[in-house]
């Protein structure tokens, strides 16, 4: 694995499986009374959030604390960043404070890539969502959730397995979605077939060259789907003429009970949250047992623990040089 996690496209199939399998092991912790591991004791992880994100930030924070890391929350709001401090100076500050890893959420696409490529800081950079680019840990937790549900046998038997041949339908605002971009990379790497369903206005130019299929017709795709992932659609989009009205969007691309009934029996309904009930998903679907939203949140903690564990090398490599790529931790984790 690389030293950073900036894009799901950087993950090989082996990398991805290693993270998923490690997450399975770590997930067993959450059933225990004492959920903490000493793995990252003495290591400093900074959560650098330039954008409000309660759920992702909390998820990372829980993951970091369960691994016993020293956690620093650096919120752009109310800090010097809001007074005009540059990303560079913020990074230099964190470097000076000895950050071993920086989890960054930024409104600008590519900000984590800039941090990772710069010599501003030397710790691992973990992308927690950048603009409309990527959100790799979300894709990992989605894949983790799919693997648990769609692979025969219980979680324990799913180790080392990908999602080969599984058909995943992702519905909604692909154009503005970092979740969609990370998922298409990761799911393809794991062998799944991805179909995007959206109004043509919400698909990026050039998507015909992505490793996925495109449809404008949700109902024709549902019967062939093993998982359907509904993306959040912001109401403001209709003001920029991406679609005429909220109701028309719901009618054409929303998932309601009738449409859910067209899914194969084993299929699951996913959503990265936050859901806009009544827009892309009805309450009936959101609250149904097929909907994995809450489970995805729980899985997010395990995935983020696995990513931190692997990138920071775990206890075994705690004294190692900070800059060595830790491909050797592959064996350790298994």
């Amino acid at each position: 694995m690389k030293r950073h996690l900036v894009s799901a496209a950087d993950l090989t199939r082996d990398d991805a499986l290693l993270i998923l399998d490690t997450a399975e092991e770590l997930a067993q912790l959450s059933g225990r009374a004492v959920k903490k591991l000493p793995t990252l004791r003495g290591r400093t992880v900074v959560n650098l959030f330039f954008e409000d994100s309660t759920r992702t930030k909390t998820s990372f924070e829980v993951a970091e604390k369960r691994l016993s890391a020293d956690v620093i929350n650096f919120s752009a709001k109310g800090s010097s960043v809001s007074k005009g401090e540059s990303l560079k100076d913020t990074a230099l500050t964190l470097q000076a404070m000895g950050a071993d890893a920086v989890v960054i959420r930024h409104h600008a696409s590519g900000a984590p890539a800039r941090l990772a490529q710069s010599d501003w800081l030397h710790g691992s950079v973990i992308n927690a969502g950048d603009g409309t680019h990527e959100h790799p840990t979300q894709a990992l937790l989605d894949a983790f959730t799919m693997r648990r549900h769609l692979n025969p046998g219980a979680s324990g038997n799913a180790l080392r397995q990908g999602l080969d041949g599984r058909r995943v339908t992702i519905v909604g605002d692909v154009l503005h979605s970092r979740v969609a971009r990370s998922n298409v990379h990761l799911l393809t790497t794991l062998g799944a077939q991805v179909t995007f369903v959206a109004p043509p206005t919400l698909l990026p130019i050039g998507i015909e060259n992505w490793p996925c299929e495109i449809s404008y017709d949700l109902e024709s795709v549902l019967p062939k789907s093993d998982a359907v992932m509904m993306l959040r659609v912001q109401r403001e989009r209709m003001n920029a003429a991406f679609f005429p009205t909220e109701r028309e969007y719901s009618r054409r691309y929303g998932l309601d009970g009738t449409r859910m009934a067209q899914l194969p029996e084993h299929a699951i309904v996913m959503h990265p949250g936050p859901m806009v009930r009544g827009m892309e998903i009805t309450a009936e679907v959101a609250d149904s047992p097929r909907c994995t939203v809450v489970e995805q949140v729980a899985n997010g903690v395990s995935i983020r623990m696995a990513v931190l564990y692997l990138l920071l090398g775990g206890a075994v490599f705690a004294d190692g040089p900070a800059d060595t790529p830790r491909t050797d931790s592959v064996e350790t984790a298994q």
């Binding site: 540059s86 490529q117 603009g131 050039g206 992505w210």
Partner: protein, 434 residues
């Protein structure tokens, strides 16, 4: 005044000849000239071109002297082989009055490295609402003939029509920055495969092409001259080719970076590649080279856009748009046009000196290299190969996309009316106009 004897130079790539420069003009050309001169230059292997003319330079003064001044900008121009540059109007304050254009013109005179021809803003404050006093800027000491809101598009069709008509009275030209504003709201890079993958706001080619199409029709309708700034797409080339075939008075420029670089570079998210108009695709690059070769595009213009380090040392969306280009322009043209066989040195002289001087109506520039003409010349060594080192630039800024890249050719000397502004690859001290 120092006199020069240049030995064995190839005039626009021709057979080696000697040139004698004195009294600001080319006194004699011939083989084995038997004349005395203060300084003799062995120019064996060097090409002589008429001094280059840039239709599109941002000198940043007044207002952003931290990025560039007229002095440092014209020093960079001289190092690049330029003897005249058109200074764009988007300074602070905007060059939309006779006072500001005269100030910029005077600063150029005082610096003495390169003629500075200020461009006047088309509209007050570049706001696209109300015509600036175009006549007053023309009548000022700066004698403005090129007007542009560059950086912004004159998107109001009526205002554009009136500007085109109005400047006819003094043989002016409107240089349009073609960018439909609504189609480029939040735009960060060329809209295409790469923007979709990177999640960066797309800047569609049609936003440029739609404005050019409208403007050539407007220019034809009112019988005016139109110049199109920094053409960047294959579609724009087609429209301009069509307009020229109609016999309409339309000219166009292309930047060196659009002749060489593509949007694939944006994958690094390094804002040094952020520029307006954005880097396009390889197909666009090929179309632009072809159009420059066949004359559909008239001129190479640098769009030299210096920015201080902090405006590029940040995330992509927060970064300023633009790249410096004066000191690398001729090398990039050699690499993309000459070394590829698309253009010979005569052609380079035409696209980088003669035609831009004609578009800007600059007397004394873009003249033939012949006896009696003003000695505005550049001596260029096309055999040189070396990595671009921004730390050695004369410009105050370092935002070049070519850092570390091996580019061919190097300016050996530049002469402005017979005075060396660059000699042996080094800036020559100037004391202003004599």
């Amino acid at each position: 005044m120092t006199t020069y004897l240049i030995r064995n130079a190839q005039i626009t790539g021709g057979a080696p000849q000697d040139l004698h420069l004195a009294d600001g003009v080319i006194k004699a050309i011939g083989t084995d000239l038997a004349v005395e001169a203060d300084i003799e230059i062995d120019a064996t292997g060097l090409i002589v071109l008429p001094g280059l003319v840039d239709l599109h330079t941002h000198l940043r003064e007044p207002g952003r002297e931290d990025a560039e001044t007229v002095l440092t900008g014209t020093q960079a121009a001289a190092m690049g082989g330029f003897t005249a540059v058109h200074a764009m109007a988007n300074t602070t304050p905007v060059a939309d009055t006779a006072g500001v254009v005269e100030q910029v013109w005077r600063l150029g005179q005082e610096a003495g490295y390169c003629d500075v021809q200020p461009v006047g803003a088309v509209t007050v404050g570049l706001e696209g609402k109300k015509l600036a006093e175009l006549g007053a800027m023309h009548e000022s000491a700066a004698n403005v003939r090129v007007f542009s809101d560059d950086g912004k598009c004159v998107d109001d069709a009526v205002l554009m029509r009136r500007a085109l008509e109005y400047v006819k009275a003094f043989d002016g030209v409107v240089a349009q920055h073609a960018q439909e504003p609504r189609l480029t709201e939040g735009a960060q890079m060329n809209e295409g495969q790469v923007s979709g993958e990177l999640g960066l706001g797309g800047w569609p080619a049609v936003a440029e092409e739609a404005i050019i199409a409208r403007d050539v029709l407007l220019a034809a309708h009112v019988g005016s001259r139109l110049h199109v700034c920094h053409v960047s797409t294959a579609g724009s080339v087609e429209i301009i080719r069509w307009a020229k075939a109609k016999g309409w008075d339309v000219t166009a420029e292309v930047t060196p970076h659009h002749l060489l670089l593509t949007d694939e570079l944006v994958r690094s998210y390094d804002p040094v590649y952020k520029v307006n108009p954005p880097l396009r695709t390889a197909e666009d690059v090929q179309a632009l080279r072809k159009a420059l070769a066949d004359g559909t595009i008239d001129a190479v213009a640098t769009d030299h856009a210096p920015h201080p380090a902090e405006d590029k040392d940040c995330e992509w969306a927060a970064a300023a748009m633009g790249m410096v280009g004066l000191e690398t322009a001729l090398s990039v043209v050699q690499q993309t046009m000459v070394d590829t066989g698309l253009l010979n040195w005569e052609g380079v002289a035409d696209r980088m000196s003669r035609r831009p001087a004609r578009i800007g109506r600059l007397a004394g520039h873009g003249r033939p290299v012949s006896v009696g003409e003003p000695a505005n010349l550049v001596l260029f060594d096309p055999a040189y190969r070396g990595a671009v080192n921004p730390e050695s630039f004369a410009t105050r800024s370092r935002n070049t996309p070519y850092r570390g890249l091996d580019l061919p050719g190097r300016v050996h000397a530049t002469f402005l009316r017979g005075r060396a502004t660059v000699l042996a690859g080094e800036l020559a001290e100037q004391g202003g106009e004599e």
